[in-house]
């Protein structure tokens, strides 16, 4: 066990070399949504918090511009529900930043698409990401309200036809597992996307209520890994994943390859550092609460307009606790102390861990190779 893990860190002190301000921010600009999906990670935050008015967001953009932030991602809720969305975008542009939008796609109209032609809105747009979870309504709409699919696909096509940078996120779940080959065909061959991203429904937000009907079982996850790996080969690497079955399949294959080569670890592994630990990014919720990540909404760093973002970025114990995870060896955790794979592991997403255990410094069993191999029972204690 490392002695470093036993020292009590001063979480008001930022790590050495941390920039003066975040380069990127994830901004949940609204808690409202026109859909009620069965696996919305943000569902718990959508009640009891109200949307910031336009001028508070614009004041934040001025603050971010002064700090040299570079990119923001606008999400929600459904970002296109904000009538002032393009006013907000113009505030981002005026403050020398770029932006991306995450959307369910259903509210995208010809007027929306044309609105991107004004000023530098198109030039500064990194991408619009639309959620598509089925190749047809019967699949996509199983976890969303009726007609969601037709409207989302129509929105996606409009964005694509207008030549805007558009991408898709497919959230793999029990209802679309068998449809994945059709989804890939629709998005790549029919709509003509360069590729698309995938992740997986996790037991958080509204999926807590609908878990059984949407969250993959271990056997289904294994199938999803195989299907996506095959599809990715078929489509020559055009399917991306930073989390979920495809990311896991790649990670586990890398472990097996390294083990076969006699290695006992991989560079940058062995610590709880899966996501890089908020060294360049943070998030703001729709009521102005600053948090390390939108998947960690209970770790409050302050409130925009009331507290200095630059100060919170460097000195908030909430975000420094996430950063400190990278100093914690997996072998110091009770779940992992005797694991022979620890040198290959990074412990999984802190947001998933927090949602499962209300703890930050634990591993996520979902990405545990030992559990995957059946060498440890699935839901071991933290």
């Amino acid at each position: 066990m490392s002695t470093e893990a036993l020292t009590v860190p001063d979480l008001t002190v930022p790590p050495t070399g941390l920039s003066r301000a975040p380069r990127e921010l994830s901004l949940c600009v609204t808690g409202r949504c026109n859909l009620k999906c069965r696996y919305c990670f943000y569902a718990d935050e959508m009640t009891g918090r109200s949307d910031l008015p336009t001028e508070r967001w614009l004041a934040l953009f001025d603050e971010l511009g002064g700090l040299g932030a570079q990119r923001v991602t606008l999400s929600g809720g459904e970002a296109f529900l904000r009538e002032d969305l393009f006013e907000l975008i113009d505030g981002i542009i005026a403050n020398r930043m770029r932006y991306a939008i995450l959307t369910n796609g259903t509210l995208v109209s010809q007027d929306t698409v044309e609105a991107f032609d004004e000023g530098k809105r198109r030039l500064r747009l990194n991408y619009v990401q639309v959620s598509i979870d089925g190749s047809r309504a019967e699949v996509h709409d199983q976890s969303r309200p009726p007609k969601s699919f037709d409207r989302a696909l129509s929105g996606l096509r409009m964005l694509k036809q207008a030549g805007l940078p558009v991408t898709v996120r497919v959230t793999v779940n029990r209802t679309n597992l068998d449809d994945l080959p059709n989804i890939a065909r629709l998005l790549i061959e029919d709509v003509g996307l360069d590729g698309f991203g995938t992740n997986e429904v996790e037991q958080m937000g509204s999926a807590r209520c609908y878990g059984e009907s949407v969250v993959l079982t271990p056997a289904e996850r294994l199938r999803a890994m195989d299907i996506l790996t095959e599809l990715n080969e078929q489509y020559e690497g055009r399917i991306n994943a930073q989390a979920g079955p495809l990311a896991m399949a790649r990670h586990f294959a890398k472990i097996e390859e390294s083990l076969a080569q006699g290695k006992n670890g991989l560079p940058g592994r062995g610590m709880l550092n899966s996501c890089g630990g908020c060294l360049t990014k943070m998030a703001v919720l729709h009521d102005g609460t600053m948090v390390p990540c939108d998947l960690l909404p209970t770790l409050t760093m302050g409130v925009i307009g009331l507290h200095s973002l630059a100060e919170a970025w460097r000195s908030s114990p909430a975000i420094n606790a996430v950063r400190y995870r990278r100093k914690i060896p997996l072998t110091s955790l009770p779940t992992c102390h005797d694991c022979t794979y620890a040198g290959f592991c990074s412990g999984g997403c802190p947001g998933s861990v927090m949602a499962k255990y209300e703890l930050l410094n634990a591993r996520d069993p979902l990405v545990c190779y030992r559990i995957f191999k059946g060498e440890e029972p699935g839901d071991a204690a933290v």
Binding site: G17, S19, G68, Q70, R96
Partner: protein, 94 residues
């Protein structure tokens, strides 16, 4: 380069990171570049249009050990590395 005038591109943001230098970012091209402290000094000069000769003059004045020939080379090298994303030609503004 001789005779041309240069100035900072208005769209570019500059974040001074202290000992680590400064980060320039052009949101139109999504390009960024890290400047060392002497690069940051030149960048600050370029808030007004400057010729290579003027930049070299400032460098030589700030670094007494620097020959005027080396100062000119440094100024040219800097301008070459930041035009056109971060610094633009401003021929008629001087």
């Amino acid at each position: 380069m001789s005779g041309k005038t240069y100035r900072a591109n208005d769209v570019v943001s500059c974040v001074d990171e202290g000992e680590d230098g400064a980060m320039l970012y052009n949101p139109d091209t999504d390009e960024s570049v890290l400047l060392n402290p002497s690069g940051l000094t030149i960048w600050t000069l370029l808030t007004s249009p400057r010729t290579i000769e003027e930049i070299a003059g400032h460098l030589a004045a700030a670094n007494p050990g620097l020959t005027s020939e080396q100062a000119r080379k440094d100024a040219e090298q800097f301008i070459q590395s930041v035009v056109p994303d971060f610094v633009i030609e401003a021929p008629n503004e001087h």
